[in-house]
Symmetry: C2
Subunit: 428 residues, 2 copies
């Protein structure tokens, strides 16, 4: 590695950032990946972590393990606090990182559409700490209900509301219904399934409304079959301690509110002085560069990407992230060779979403699957996509345990001890 | 289950409490197990959790899953705050639980021998949250060192001190040395193994001094071979931000201090008004009952058990806990039948401890093993003792990955999100 090599800093080790780092492997640059976590999250499995089917380590991989085979890529754990576009440097809570080329792949966070108070009244499902917190909260509610003798108090504790019927909310609601029906009613002998209410509030007519018909209607039926109350065309006006208040004036009681109503770009986007598009994402050129700074690329959920052939910006999906990350790396290579960066062309490989065990919808161009065929497709695609033999074996073991024997082995309310942490962190 | 059955409350779902609950399965009583966690911890694996070899769910099992096959046993998640011995009721942070018979199996916590300030300056390894916190701290130190360019600052961050050369401290120190040598030097390309110092401070001449010779001397050599600095006959006078100060005036610099110097009975013991023995444990009669309250039993780490044949109280070991828990259950059965409770006779099945991969000492009466033979014995015994096919498969997968390929798959700095937790907890 020559010190004279141009420096590339990649902000974020999600799908987009990792894809960019790997694609820069053969480009004569020195790459630094910065992330606030030391792991890469396989986000399609987060709802399985939140419903006690998978442990954290089955949905996450040490970033350094992924990167160490790439000789020209190093990793730094830090929170990025800003970017000095003129000085060409990334500011972190550790130290400044100068760059010649920058790839912004900082991902997304929960969007509250101006109602920031919802963050304190709901649980998210957008990253691994949130998924673990949600798992702990669900199990703690059941434990609290075991102590409650008053039926009204039990009903309150056992009421769950999921806001947003996109893939995240739908997959979670289906898996939660099964966690309770299949496993927790055995764990809690006094628990009657009819005491538990799970409501999915969706603004459209059906959940999974981004899928073509008949998939949304089929997902809707599958959710109802599992005992999920689907509230269609339900717009949430307010979230408070008692649950949801909808815009039509009705209320949905819920001790636990899961917010899956939308994602926006990470808050880093707000302070960069760059033009923002929908979902507070950084607006990019067709070549994924930002206006006025050809050395800066934005990709994945952090970028609003408009392709020449599509009027709508691309959705916030893993495949868009992976492909755009790769394209940014390719365009950095082009710039280094004095060539013209190429516009990004998205190749839609299809989308799928599960509704619990044995049911998924899959939209793969002309092929549209529902039910068990969709579920089989989901299992195969996701086992293939997850990295590493160990993780595959781990995930398969848990799926056999969970889907065949309806056992959720990870139903533990656990996290690191927090006391005295502050003082130890002072030593860092 | 008749309501007229006598009520047994078991405080604690560790080895002793679970053994008691299982043994009460065929006794005509109604049993309630109370614990502050919803899981049972397989404590021999905690050092493997702390060194990123096993995930939390491989060292812990949902208690409800263990108990649900037992028709007369129910579980309640709560923190026990006291016992009203006269009113025969257990007080918790939830509600009062009346009992006819009580089994106190509340286990142990770190002992600081009057130096309570050490709790805030060190990390423990006595339960699962502590093990996860320690894992996160170790990995965070390495990440911090990756940012440090000053050699003195790097050396400080990469210095670890373990206080106490009993099985916990010895096993952890050996596994930590291997985590760094085998895995983290590959993850951190700039890291030189010689920059990392791991010191084990032990008050006796050798670590594992409770084992018969030549096992302690062999363990000592094995630790040194792995690069652990063993400080023999080292008495710790003080722990501060810079590390350890020993009673002989020398210092051991350490950014991370792991406290494995001793265990005492859970603090519940302090407020019961019962006679305490060594390690603040509840003194019990040979039949495991407490003075003046024949309906109250204390077992496991929570009890100071003296057997008629031994002068010394029994050590705080899993086997003592399991056997004494079973005996308490048997004696409750005896009391119900109007028979005389039997004195506890401890059957020593041997003890073992690992020093990293490929080395363990095992003391099984006439058979004393060290090295690879000891390690093989340790693997076989612990795979046999851990409950459930899934956990066995999980542990074996990780051991193959860890011991054969020197990969520590769980090297993630992760825990549930803590923000907004307070408010949600208010809803419980």
């Amino acid at each position: 590695m020559s010190a004279a090599r141009p420096k590339v800093v990649i902000v974020g080790a999600g799908f987009a950032g990792l894809a960019a780092a790997k694609a820069l492997h053969r480009v004569p640059v020195q790459v630094t990946v910065v992330d606030q976590h030391d792991y890469h999250t396989f986000t399609p499995f987060l709802y399985q972590v939140a419903t006690a089917l998978l442990e954290a380590d089955a949905a996450a991989f040490p970033v350094r393990g992924e990167l160490r085979r790439l000789g020209n890529v190093s990793f730094r754990l830090a929170t990025v606090t800003g970017v000095d576009l003129d000085a060409k440097a990334v500011d972190t809570d550790r130290r400044r990182l100068p760059y010649d080329y920058l790839v912004l792949a900082a991902g997304g966070v929960n969007a509250y559409f101006g109602h920031s108070e919802i963050a304190g009244r709901s649980l998210g499902l957008n990253d691994l700490p949130e998924a673990l917190q949600l798992r702990n909260a669900i199990l703690a509610r059941l434990e609290a209900a075991a102590w409650a003798s008053d039926p009204a108090e039990r009903a309150r504790l056992l009421s769950f509301a999921v806001v947003g019927g996109g893939p995240t909310g739908t997959e979670f609601a289906g898996a939660l219904a099964e966690l309770i029906t299949g496993t927790l009613t055995r764990d809690f002998p006094d628990l009657d399934r009819s005491e538990v209410s799970i409501t999915l509030a969706e603004a459209s007519r059906h959940p999974l409304s981004v899928f073509p018909q008949p998939l949304p209607a089929a997902a809707d039926r599958a959710l109802r079959d599992k005992g999920v109350r689907v509230r269609s065309e339900a717009m949430v006006a307010e979230v408070d301690q008692t649950g949801l208040r909808l815009k039509d004036g009705t209320t949905v009681p819920a001790a636990t509110v899961v917010w899956a109503a939308g994602v926006r770009a990470s808050h880093l986007a707000d302070g960069l002085g760059l033009r923002l598009g929908s979902h507070e994402r950084i607006a990019v050129t067709p070549t994924l560069q930002v206006d006025g700074h050809p050395e800066v690329f934005a990709v994945g959920d952090f970028a609003e990407i408009r392709t020449p052939d599509a009027g709508q910006p691309l959705p916030m999906l893993a495949q868009v992230a992976i492909q755009s990350g790769r394209q940014a790396a390719g365009n950095i290579g082009a710039l280094l060779r004095g060539e013209t960066p190429q516009p990004f062309v998205y190749k839609d490989l299809g989308t799928m979403a599960t509704v619990g065990r044995g049911f998924a919808v899959a939209d793969m161009g002309p092929v549209k699957l529902t039910g068990q065929a969709g579920f089989l497709a989901w299992l195969v695609v996701h086992i293939a996509r997850i990295a590493g033999m160990r993780n595959r074996s781990l995930v398969l073991t848990n799926w056999v345990s969970g889907y065949l024997f309806r056992n959720r082995p990870v139903r533990l309310i656990v996290g690191p001890r927090e006391t005295d942490q502050a003082q130890l962190q002072g030593q860092r």
